[in-house]
């Protein structure tokens, strides 16, 4: 009698019970796997709304600002220390912002024509920089324009230093985004590695020391007679539209 009652009850509630069991199993599964699937679902729903480019840009800007502040701080300290050591202070430069109004007039020279000239105080041999570092040197000026020989031109030769090891060499352009640093071959060991930063040398009389130029992207140190390293410029020369010309005073 009692058993009959049980079976009737079972027949009535079987599906509900199985369902409950299934639900519990799933719950236990989720618990033991620390929310597998659920969190992924959450992520895939949130994905489209999360971290778009503009926010990235804000972060990059913030980082740039922090770095700029840090650079200013270090420059200040540097000047103070130089003063303590009675060294001559680094020469001050005035920056003249100038637009790039034209590029080289043939397929061999690597030049910019800037939209400002001697009226703004730009002189021949003035140094031209852009966000990212060195761009080149002024070859000739007119009252309202100036022509810049880019670092990427093969006729441009610049004394450079590898910042990490203070190794010195001479950089000449290899067109577009690359240049080649050549080292004196009598040096036994040339201390340079991939990704080393290359800056203008303190020995160079034409360029202020320590302007960023690029990073080492290839090494050919066993090349004879002259060991070489290929440098990729940090300034995106093809796309630069505004530059700063450093003028005295």
């Amino acid at each position: 009698m009692r058993i009959n009652k049980f079976w009737r009850w079972w027949d009535q509630n079987r599906s509900a019970l199985l369902l409950a069991l299934l639900v519990l199993c799933v719950a236990v599964f989720v618990k033991t796997t620390q929310g597998l699937g659920l969190l992924d679902l959450r992520r895939s729903i949130a994905g489209p709304f999360q971290s778009d480019g503009s926010k990235q840009q804000v972060l990059i800007d913030a980082q740039t600002q922090a770095l700029q502040t840090q650079v200013q701080e270090l420059e200040g300290q540097n000047q103070a220390l130089r003063a303590l050591l009675n060294l001559s202070p680094l020469p001050g430069y005035k920056k003249v912002a100038a637009p790039v109004v034209a590029r080289s007039g043939d397929s061999w020279w690597q030049q910019f024509i800037l939209g400002k000239g001697s009226l703004e105080g730009i002189q021949v041999d003035a140094v031209v920089v852009a966000p990212g570092g060195l761009v080149g040197r002024v070859m000739s000026v007119s009252p309202t324009t100036s022509r810049v020989l880019l670092v990427s031109d093969p006729t441009s030769k610049i004394g450079v230093t590898v910042s990490r090891s203070r190794q010195v060499g001479i950089l000449s352009g290899r067109l577009n985004r690359y240049g080649v640093v050549e080292f004196e071959n009598f040096e036994k060991t040339i201390d340079i590695k991939l990704n080393d930063a290359v800056v203008t040398s303190t020995l160079s009389s034409r360029f202020p020391p320590g302007i960023a130029i690029g990073r080492v992207s290839e090494l050919h140190l066993d090349r004879r007679p002259i060991p070489q390293a290929v440098v990729e410029f940090t300034v995106p020369i093809e796309t630069v539209e505004w530059v700063n010309v450093l003028t005295h005073g």
Partner: protein, 183 residues
């Protein structure tokens, strides 16, 4: 309302011609300095000075071609750098163009001009490369690889843009010829 051209006096027509000559060269030189979308092939822009020299020389005497090439080459030196000179290559191109009789091979005028530009572009680049090699500042291996790239791209992109200069100038000179000889 301006007078129709056939009523213009001879001196006025000459003056207009000079104006058109100067205007077109200035336009070519300005284009030479620009990087406009659609005018760049592997970092190489059309050699507008060459296009102008070829356009000028096709129906003129070798001496005229030579001098036009030299003049435009010297001006191009002015907008780039004095040495090595562009005048040599362009003068050679102008001279060769005026001695060629390409209309024997192709009927259509502007296709013939484009063809000559296609042939002359490598010549101009090679003459320039030769001078660079003599100067010895560039690495010779580098000159050679760059020459190969540049001469092919320059030939293609320059010849494609040739009609833009050739068609209007040629039409004007034909018109001018008719006007001067109908009197």
């Amino acid at each position: 309302m301006a007078k129709p051209l056939r009523l213009w006096s001879r001196p006025a027509l000459f003056q207009l011609n000079v104006l058109i000559l100067i205007g077109s060269t200035v336009l070519c030189l300005l284009l030479q300095l620009s990087r406009l979308p659609g005018m760049i092939l592997l970092d190489v822009t059309p050699n507008w000075c060459l296009i102008w020299v070829v356009t000028w020389s096709i129906k003129r005497s070798p001496l005229q071609g030579l001098i036009a090439g030299m003049a435009l080459g010297l001006i191009q030196d002015g907008i780039t750098a004095p040495s090595p000179t562009h005048a040599l290559g362009l003068a050679i191109a102008g001279y060769i163009t005026s001695t060629l009789d390409v209309r024997r091979w192709v009927d259509e005028d502007f296709i013939c001009a484009a063809l000559i530009v296609f042939m002359m572009a490598p010549v101009v680049e090679a003459v320039f490369a030769g001078q660079l090699a003599l100067q010895g500042v560039w690495d010779s291996q580098q000159i050679w690889t760059h020459l190969q790239q540049v001469s092919l791209s320059s030939a293609i992109i320059s010849s494609l843009w040739t009609p833009l200069v050739y068609v209007p100038l040629n039409r004007w000179w034909e018109r001018l010829h008719d006007l001067l000889h109908s009197r």
